[in-house]
Symmetry: C2
Subunit: 363 residues, 2 copies
């Protein structure tokens, strides 16, 4: 890590974030959910999806802009299907909805082997990987996808951004096998727009085929990039489309106008999809050499990372290392600039100020 980090006690962080949400009119339960997700992201070293990002999003697209409705109640839409629930979130805070949806999916999976919750009229849940990671730590196979708040990605062979960065997140129960859950979690664009802006500021090039310029041609000049490209050409495009199509079946809005001014009568919100599978509902019980299920998972992973592949990382390994660092430091790690921004959050909601000298440097 090139940046210098300071250790903020987790309670201290969570209390400020909860207070910031309460101050914006969210219920205690919502506020605690918002703090829990931000805290989990920072604990795992996810610097792009911390409390600062969440509160910024909430201010400019969420409760500060009508995109999110503090205190909204989730409406359970009757479908007549026992293992599937459909919710209308009425733009309730995404983090609170996502935690509750995953809990519901787990309950359904306990009973039916698998369960799903589809959510219409939702607002940003911050970090999909966090929800599936928690479920995976409890032993489940978990999945979520969502549509993004704004279209920034150009369909394969197109010129106009009409797709969100539409992420997918899978969590696998591998903790007993390798010490942490494998979490496959990424956007379907090569890079995020925030990364393009960062590279433009630093005058650094984009990777090839990550963005197009205003003429619709691929560019590696971050300053000229106006829209993103899906990863892996038509394959990433297909994965991005998948989120839009599932959302369209749920009740989703038209992606190209989402988050932008548009004619009356169209929706403006995103959709979530959650699914959990119980591990016992997958096992045929016929593992080689009499292994148990987790032993078999361990043997398969060791086989994949065998000779020649020692340098390979597993998805979720960086997050697990982040958590180990937080654990060792006994708190969340933030830079000076981040702590100053937290101080601004504190001022906004009349909480005691954050001061760099209150936090020990991380080793």
């Amino acid at each position: 890590m090139s940046d210098r980090y300071y250790v903020v006690p987790r309670d201290f962080h969570d209390n400020l974030v909860t207070k910031a949400y309460l101050d914006r009119g969210f219920t205690p339960e919502e506020s605690v959910s918002g703090a829990r997700m931000a805290s989990s992201a920072s604990w795992h070293g996810i610097r792009t999806h911390n409390a600062l990002k969440a509160l910024h999003l909430d201010e400019f697209l969420g409760s500060g802009a009508g995109g999110c409705q503090p205190g909204a109640s989730i409406e359970v839409v009757p479908t007549g299907f026992e293992a599937a629930q459909v919710w209308n979130a009425h733009r309730k805070m995404g983090q609170a909805v996502a935690y509750e949806a995953m809990d519901t999916c787990k309950r359904l999976a306990d009973r039916f082997g698998l369960g799903m919750v589809s959510v219409d009229d939702a607002f940003h849940y911050l970090w999909g990987g966090g929800y599936v990671m928690e479920a995976a730590k409890e032993g489940y196979i978990a999945y979520t996808n969502c549509t993004s708040a704004m279209a920034e990605v150009v369909p394969f062979m197109g010129r106009n951004p009409t797709l969100g960065t539409n992420p997918h997140s899978w969590g696998l129960p591998t903790t007993d096998a390798i010490g942490f859950p494998i979490v496959i979690d990424w956007a379907t664009s090569v890079v995020a727009m925030g990364r393009v802006q960062q590279l433009a500021r630093e005058n650094l090039p984009l990777p090839p085929n990550a963005a197009i310029d205003s003429e619709g041609n691929p560019t590696t000049d971050a300053a000229k990039a106006v829209a993103l490209l899906p990863f892996g050409g038509h394959k990433g495009y297909g994965l991005s489309l998948l989120n839009e199509l599932m959302a369209a079946l749920i009740g989703g809005s038209l992606p190209a106008i989402r988050g932008r001014p548009h004619e009356e009568g169209e929706k403006n919100s995103t959709c979530f999809f959650f699914q959990v599978i119980h591990p016992d509902a997958l096992s045929a019980g016929a593992f080689a050499r009499g292994r148990g299920q987790q032993d078999n998972v361990k043997a398969v992973i060791e086989n994949i990372l065998g000779p020649g592949n020692e340098k390979c990382l597993l998805p979720g390994q960086i997050e697990a290392a982040g958590a180990a660092r937080s654990e060792k430091s006994n708190g969340l790690l933030f830079t000076k600039a981040e702590i100053e921004e937290f101080n601004g959050i504190a001022a906004q909601c009349s909480a005691p100020p954050w001061n760099l000298k209150d936090f020990p440097p991380a080793h």
Copy 2:
């Protein structure tokens, strides 16, 4: 199409393929399933997964090599979960298993909103896209993945091929909206090994980052390629791992030794995963402007393919065009070389010979 095609009546094709399977000891039900899948692939213009490929695979890895067991019975493993089934296929023909698994998933989805079937000890189902496409045409959301018969793909940042080309296939019910089901269906490698061999024969280059040479370095020289790379770097690697991990939970074999000689006691077969969602189990019913579900899907797709994106294809569109061509020609389209190979199949199972002059050229 640069090749010249000849029209083979579908029944004529299906009868020969059924006979070829019967001749190898498969049951009538299995043989009809094998012919049905091959026929569907050729009907949709999938030339890489036709009957010739299926029968070749069966000869060298399947019933001709002990990898597939004609007449095997599917064992339903009790799990206690109502919406999930686990099967041990005992190496029964993959196509017969896959059709039955999708039918079971649809029945479970009709009742619970979604359903899944996990299959241990399986043998190659040929073309995953075909199964999800059929379910999608019936109005369902369908998904399948499987582990490949042999490891040919190097994990991201690795040097040794320990992953299969592990494909994913999603089918979406979009026929009422756009005239055909969207089918997202691809391997997690940039290209298939068959494509590498074809390019090597023709002395043509590989795309960048599709394969490595014997030193473990990326190469575009098809003749020097010894292993494949996942598409999209760590993202495609994650998707390939997902199949191995789900298989590992089901009962899967160690990927690096799969399909190769190895020590006693380890398994050698692949796993399948199938899932179907009922469209009514997703709908929140709150579509903008009073649209119905399919109208909303249509509006979302039209929005994505709006101005600037007219040249974009939808996944499944090429297959739909292939089916339209077959429909118009009133039969399956094969090249001279393919028809000669079918004649070899006919000779093998003592069926009447295929002769190019029996088949009219396609227009």
